[in-house]
Symmetry: C2
Subunit: 322 residues, 2 copies
């Protein structure tokens, strides 16, 4: 079956001649354009489909927040400063209550990040939301997926797995108390884009991306793009506060192959440990060191004793996942 | 009922402080960003939904062409030069034959205009295509909707109505020979973005837009934004070659309130008539002078004898049209 990445690679990736005005095309969190030698723009587009990315009856305020948050998260992962966005919206009907709540959730987060809504499109159709976001950064300061170096530490912002745990509870895969479910669900519905952290990591981190489809798969993109491997301390992964109360098997599964985390995974040289921790403090973001980039390709999972663990976990794929 | 424009105005237009880096926000063919004092970017986003903007069994090559063409047309209407675009694609399944044909139609047109595909998103869901396009132009050279001046001529590129006639034939509202239907359908499926004309009109034309929802309604946007009125010679409107064989009532209806034309409607001072015609020749685009911008608000339709005509025609609206 054709995976999402194969689909893009086979049908849409073009072999364009090198041109300094196009520093980076398909395959990272954002594309980069350089309209002027002193200025780069980071651009990302995300489409959210009802019934696929959110429940059809999702709270529209939280949905508005989330649509923009996932795009802001892509800017964060490139170390770009938010500038503006466009919104294309397909709606089954023009419902005033829904529109009012949706636009409030969207525009409140936009204001927080000084990110202007500059245009877009509206049409009738199945509920679908497509945001394209624009950020700015100085040339050569982007945190790209292909920049990890052997010996780099691997870091994770915040914590992982509570969004996936909330989804599991909605789907009756696990049982949570109402309070626990509510707390975990905040992480699913209201992700926090790590904009300040991304900018603070300019010149300090090497590679970065945001974790949206599960850490293992997403870290795999850094490893492939950078042509390196890694060793990951599975039991040092920062589990969300609700997931932290669950058993080890679930903690491992949902921190490694959850989804919807929107935390940053980045690599930085050992010599920058103090600078990384300072960036965390400056951006009020907890950071955890969870592994190391290595020469040998592939991802090796180890437990606290240093013994290898084999886990059969799959990252989410839109076309091959059930 | 809430119209598309009211919906945008009430829920999404924000009152941002003036800032030279944001020359133009919501409401024109494109938004403008000015990341550097010497460089503006024109940005437009269009979402096409299966069953709404195209038939679910639409030829994928033509669909790929059309999705990009409607976005290029927005750049043309601002006099911007195409630079790059993102593609967000929701697909019911990853079908190789469909993807191969769709990407060929899309990327062939992109190559023609030297417009790079730099990123986007793919997901499973109802067939929906959202393209966000980026063009470049020198500061202060954009052809904006609010720039029409009293006394300006009104011009139309190419011809109007064949796309609407083809749709009418698909819907059995009119009867066409197979050959005539096929010819008209090309205009519906394969619109020609007027990029070269738009660029040639820099410094010559005042206001411009592309006609996508019907001339009367679209010209109305120029009149509203520029706070002027206009007089339009209905029987001088250039009908498409297939529509030209139909009766006067249908010619008038489909040139005035068709849709899917993707021709430019622009205004230019009388003193620039020779320059306008030269721009048409240089860009190999037929141009027709069809009316005049006037002080008195409103749009007045007149026939060849100069007598007023009253026609009850409505522009297409995604939320109030049937």
């Amino acid at each position: 079956m054709l995976s999402e990445f194969d689909l893009i690679k086979q049908y849409f990736v073009q072999d364009y001649p090198e041109n300094p005005r196009f520093p980076l095309g398909i395959g990272d969190d954002c594309a980069l354009l350089q309209p002027h030698p002193n200025r780069q723009m980071a651009i990302s587009s995300d489409m959210l489909v009802s019934g696929r990315h959110f429940f059809p009856d999702a709270d529209p305020t939280m949905l508005g927040h989330k649509c923009l948050a996932v795009n802001l998260s892509d800017l964060a992962a490139m170390a770009a400063k938010p500038l503006a966005f466009t919104l294309a919206l397909s709606l089954p009907e023009a419902n005033r209550a829904w529109l009012s709540a949706f636009s409030a959730g969207l525009l409140n987060l936009a204001r927080e990040h000084d990110c202007r809504l500059i245009g877009g499109d509206t049409t009738k159709g199945p509920l679908t939301i497509c945001i394209t976001i624009f950020g700015e950064l100085p040339p050569a300061s982007a945190l790209r997926r292909d920049a990890a170096q052997v010996g780099d530490d691997i870091w994770i912002s915040g914590n992982l797995g509570d969004a996936r745990l909330a989804l599991a509870a909605y789907n009756n895969e696990v049982s949570l108390s109402a309070a626990a479910h509510q707390q975990a669900a905040i992480r699913m519905h209201q992700p926090t884009p790590r904009i300040a952290l991304g900018i603070a990591l300019r010149g300090i981190a090497h590679a970065a991306l945001d974790i949206s489809d599960g850490l293992m798969g997403d870290l795999g993109h850094i490893l492939n793009a950078s042509q390196v491997g890694a060793c990951l301390h599975v039991d040092r992964l920062p589990a969300g506060p609700v997931l932290g109360l669950e058993n080890q098997a679930l903690r491992r599964e949902f921190t490694l192959a959850g989804g919807d985390d929107y935390e940053l995974c980045f690599t930085a040289p050992v010599s920058q440990r103090a600078a990384v921790l300072a960036a965390g403090v400056a951006s009020q973001t907890e950071l955890t060191r969870v592994g190391r980039i290595e020469q040998a390709s592939g991802l090796r999972l180890i437990d606290e004793s240093g013994a290898a663990i084999v886990l059969d976990l799959k990252s989410f794929d839109h076309f091959t996942s059930p």
